[in-house]
Structures are given as C-alpha cells and as structure tokens.
Symmetry: C2
C-alpha cells in the first residue's frame, strides 16, 4: 500500500504509536458493536436480525482481541481508548443510519475503510501488529454475508441503489475526514513518514488517502454501485 521507505522507530515512539493505533482500533470496534447491535432490531426479518447481531458480536470479538493485546503489553485499555472517544462518537453521530440497509452499508464501508487505514498505520509496526490488524480486518463469513445481502437487495430495487450510493459517499467522506484528523492529532504522519513536514510529506499522506478511496471504489463496484 505504501512504497516509500518505512520508518525505523525507537522503542518509546514505537510504544506510543502502537498504543495509539490499538486504542483507536479497540474503541472503534467497541462502538461498532454497540451501534450495529442497536440497529439490529430494526431488521426486516428475524433472519436478518440474527445475521446483524452475529456481525455485531464479531465486532465485539475484535474489540476483545485488541483490548487483550493492550493489557498484555502492561498498558491500560481504558486509557488507550480515551483519546479516541470524542472523535469516534462524533463520527457515529454524523452517520446515524436511517434504516436497516443504511446500517449494513455503514458496516460495509466504515469497517473496510478503517481496516485499510489501520493496515497503512501498522506498516510502521512489527509483524505482530500487522497480524492483529489483519485479524480485526478479516473478511469472514459475516462480511461476505453483508456483501451478498446488500448485493441482493440492490438487485431488487434500483431506487435503493441510488440512495445507498449517496450514503456510501457520505460515509466515505466522514471516515476519511476522521482518519485525517486522528492522524494529525496523534502525529501518525510524523511517525509513519520519516521526513519533515512539507509538500513532499503531504503528497505522501495524500497518496495514502487516494489508496483508501480507490479500495472503497472497488468495493462499491462489487455491489454494482458507483462510488
């Protein structure tokens, strides 16, 4: 995803960077669990409700994985999550799904964009961190179900398609804005891109974001939607 030379981090920077990434991931997965499970009860059928609840429980499992990793490193998971509470909560408030399909779409878009973002950040960390990110990001049975369910629903209803395409763009915009802000505030770019701030570094940050957008477009294309 990133071609430029990766940074070699000293122990203190590495620890700070890792704690920030893990705190961000843990809090995002916890809130994804809470929001998805709240939305589950508006599902059209009991089978859909079951599936969305399962998806939520999967997000909780991811949260637990990351939380355990933070605790195993002798750090406090609550303290690690705290700096991300306000911005993640704000993202959720600005992206409240209007119905069940918008909930599915939110899970599909935000989980994927976040996963790509974590992956880009984890490049500066060791193999263990990259494995953790890929576990949290894994395309499992639930995610496949999500894509198929959306795909089927869109096939049945062209108007839903234009509504969800619009919603998908809004979700992407909010997710990227948030990722950008979090990266600025927590000095992710300083750590990730070993060069002084300036136009060249900005171009590299921009390139990272361009990749996030590209992956998103491909995923929207998988649904038959234009990003």
């Amino acid at each position: 995803m990133i071609e430029y030379p990766l940074p070699v981090l000293d122990a203190a920077t590495r620890e700070r960077f890792e704690t920030a990434l893990y705190g961000l991931m843990a809090y995002r997965e916890l809130t994804a669990f809470e929001r998805l499970s709240s939305d589950a009860r508006f599902s059209p059928t009991l089978a859909d409700r079951d599936a969305l609840a399962r998806l939520a429980v999967e997000e909780f499992r991811h949260y637990e994985l990351v939380r355990e990793r933070i605790a195993a490193a002798g750090r406090d998971p609550q303290a690690a999550m705290e700096p991300f509470v306000a911005s993640i909560d704000a993202l959720h408030e600005r992206t409240r799904p209007g119905d069940w399909f918008e909930s599915l779409m939110k899970a599909y878009v935000i989980d994927s964009v976040s996963g790509d973002f974590y992956q880009a950040i984890a490049l500066a960390l060791d193999e263990e961190a990259r494995v953790l990110v890929s576990e949290v990001q894994s395309i499992d049975a639930q995610t496949l179900w999500l894509r198929e369910r959306l795909h089927d629903a869109l096939g049945d209803d062209p108007r839903l398609g234009s509504r969800l395409a619009l919603w998908g763009r809004r979700l992407l915009g909010e997710a990227l804005t948030q990722a950008r802000r979090i990266g600025d505030r927590h000095a992710f770019w300083d750590t990730l891109i070993p060069m002084p701030p300036g136009p060249e570094r900005d171009a590299r940050v921009a390139k990272l974001f361009a990749r996030l957008v590209e992956n998103h477009s491909r995923r929207m294309g998988d649904l038959g939607l234009t990003a």
Copy 2:
C-alpha cells in the same frame, strides 16, 4: 418449585410445548442482547461499558444455544420465535431504562424472573430441556458483576436506592403480566398443570407466580432494597 404432580405429555403436546418455551427463550435472549448492547454506550465509564457489552454478548450466547437446540430438533427457529415477538417487544417498550443503572436493574430483574419462569415451565419437559434452561439462567461471572456493581452504587447513593426500588417493582409487575399473558395464550397452564381449568388450577398458577415474586424479593434484598 412446584410440588403438584407433573404432567405426562404425549409426543405432540411435548413438542408443541417445548417449541413454545424455546421460541420464547430465544426471542427474549436475542432482544435482551440488542437492548443491553444499545444501552451500553450510556455507561458512566469505559470499564462499565465493557462490562455491559460483555453481559450483552453473554445474552447472545444464550440465544444461540437455544436457537441451535430448536434447529437441531428439525424446527425453524424464526417460526418458533415469531409468536413471541409482539409481547416481548411490548415488554421492552414499556420498560425502557432511563439511565445506565436502570439498564443494569432491568437485566438483573427481568433475566432472573424470566429464568425462574422458564424453569417452572421446563419442569413439564425432560432433563435435556431443564439443563438448557439452567445454562441460559446460569449465575455466571457477568451476573455476579451486575449484582456487585448495583450493590456498590446503591451503597454510595441512598436516593438511587429509592429510585431503583421503584423501578424494580415496575419491572417485576411488567414481567409477571407478560408471563401470565404468554402462559394463557400458549396454553402453558393446561399443559403444566394436569387438571381442568377452575379455581384449583388457578390457585396453582397463582402459587407459581407467588414463588416468582418471592425469589424476586430475595434478590432485591440481596441489593439491600425492599421489593
């Protein structure tokens, strides 16, 4: 819990009765999961939020246990749950917690009363059904946490005590009304108490409910509250 002679059920009655009990349990556990996890985000601290989310995931595990049992018997879990959707949803609507402590209390009261009710119903079924009920009802680490957390909060704040005592009574009233209605509508009493409808059978149903109230009072007493 019940001293009178237990019924001997023919295969068709037993199957109908078991499907009704399991459908009720599955839907109640699924909705308990959805409601608790929605409430989790209003928790005062991240640690409390973590604990409530864990409690919700535990309810989902119970749902899955029952759902699998229904499916293993070759029946359709959705169809088994369907008859209970309206009444359980109505119960939740009438018992929306006003804050995090009311959520805890709701889990504490409704889970316990429901568990006692399932247990009374399962007496008419076989060992396998009784084991399933006790798994769903089990006092595990999460439930103990719930009791301790409430106990501590009540010790710190006497005004919270009188508010939660009132809330507990309301929860009990709603749970008993619902249990009574469900029992009437699904002919639980006919099956459970092998005698014709009439004052004697009514007295036995009343005795079953008296036990639910008694257990509830003991549990409220454990919190230092008057039921």
